[in-house]
Symmetry: C2
Subunit: 234 residues, 2 copies
């Protein structure tokens, strides 16, 4: 068995290939000069084509950027799903918990971010005022959050009933279908904001010259997230 049949016509396959190559050059351009410097004409030149040729493949510059954003989200969602699927805890003398490992997710996130910082910033960086992502991208973001929620739900202790968790009790539209208690939602949000806090400052270079190893700060935050906390004072 040499592989599944490719139902696509040669033309379709060629189209897909050129589209992929355009995107590849687009990412290189973004990595070099930032997303705002992305230029269709420059990409065409790099590919040895004339500018208007690209309009066979993308309706407009905005269209291309939106697709890059979508691909970035999709890439992170897939990375999360793959990590969640293969990295269950409970194997090596652990505390007996089962399910998705939140530590593995954290390292997957960090790896994904370091792999291409500008891709990370295209998702989580400075927003362009007025831009609204289409619905299908929002759906991918929700998918990412769902994977994270599953992992947090699998943590040994459900976490303390924080005041913010009480607020979430009545404000959990984003997770209304998830069975996890609100304390777990709080944990997931905290996981997200804390790791993003370290990662985005690190990738933006705000730690350079300070001397310490950002990976260890990341690890410290992760350790803290895994540790059950006291009840909040008062």
């Amino acid at each position: 068995m040499t592989g599944a049949e490719d139902a696509r016509t040669p033309r379709e396959r060629y189209r897909a290939q050129v589209r992929a190559e355009v995107k590849k050059h687009a990412w290189e351009q973004i990595a070099t000069a930032g997303a705002s410097a992305l230029s269709l004409n420059a990409i065409a030149k790099q590919m040895g084509m004339s500018g208007p040729a690209l309009y066979r493949y993308f309706a407009s510059r905005d269209d291309l950027i939106t697709e890059l954003v979508r691909d970035a989200y999709r890439s992170l969602a897939d990375t999360f799903r793959a990590t969640a699927g293969s990295a269950q805890t409970g194997g090596a003398g652990d505390t007996g918990e089962t399910g998705v490992d939140v530590t593995a997710l954290a390292h997957a996130l960090r790896g994904w971010a370091l792999d291409d910082p500008q891709r990370y910033f295209l998702v989580y960086g400075t927003p362009v005022p007025g831009y609204h992502a289409p619905d299908d991208i929002t759906a991918i973001a929700a998918e990412i959050m769902a994977t994270l929620l599953d992992a947090c739900a699998a943590l040994p202790s459900p976490g303390p009933a924080t005041r913010f968790a009480a607020h979430l009790e009545d404000h959990r539209q984003w997770a209304r279908d998830h069975p996890a208690p609100s304390a777990t939602l709080h944990r997931a949000l905290t996981f997200w904001t804390r790791l993003h806090g370290v990662l985005s400052l690190e990738l933006a270079g705000h730690f350079t010259g300070m001397g310490f190893d950002p990976a260890l700060l990341f690890a410290a935050e992760l350790d803290d997230l895994r540790r059950p906390h006291d009840e909040p004072t008062e």
Copy 2:
């Protein structure tokens, strides 16, 4: 006494005034379309001047942007200093600690960020690949960090001796002149990354549609930062 003498000549005062007006329009443009869309010609048009006139006031577009970045840093540093100077703890039946109040700093940071999100992102948002801030801006960043360190040093408990603090023991170039123990440095860094994590995701709109109140998540993180923690497990 109607005020101190203004040693500046009328021409100098005029210059300063026009420069300020240029910056004002620049900020409006950034708020509307992001920093990458900033255009000298557009600013001149808004001011009813011709484009080249602005070159009397700024050497180049990059020069203007650098100055906006500097002003943003300066603004945050001043806000922090003012907050630290006027908001000592220990007044209202507190636990007896004295010195700068970290809670006040946190709220000052949040207020400053919400006041002008694009200004926040100009400081902490997506970096432009290849751009390096001049030294005097780095110095302002250090000033901000110093104020934060002072506040963390004034917290009731010095915090536990975390593993990361042990690493900082030998990697605290950025705070080699500060008397605070490394555990306090760890606290300051955590303060920074956690609050930035919540703020940047909030300002970028990643919480919109989720239903909860970002202010309460921010408050929850702040509460957690103020609470002394257990020793790390193991």
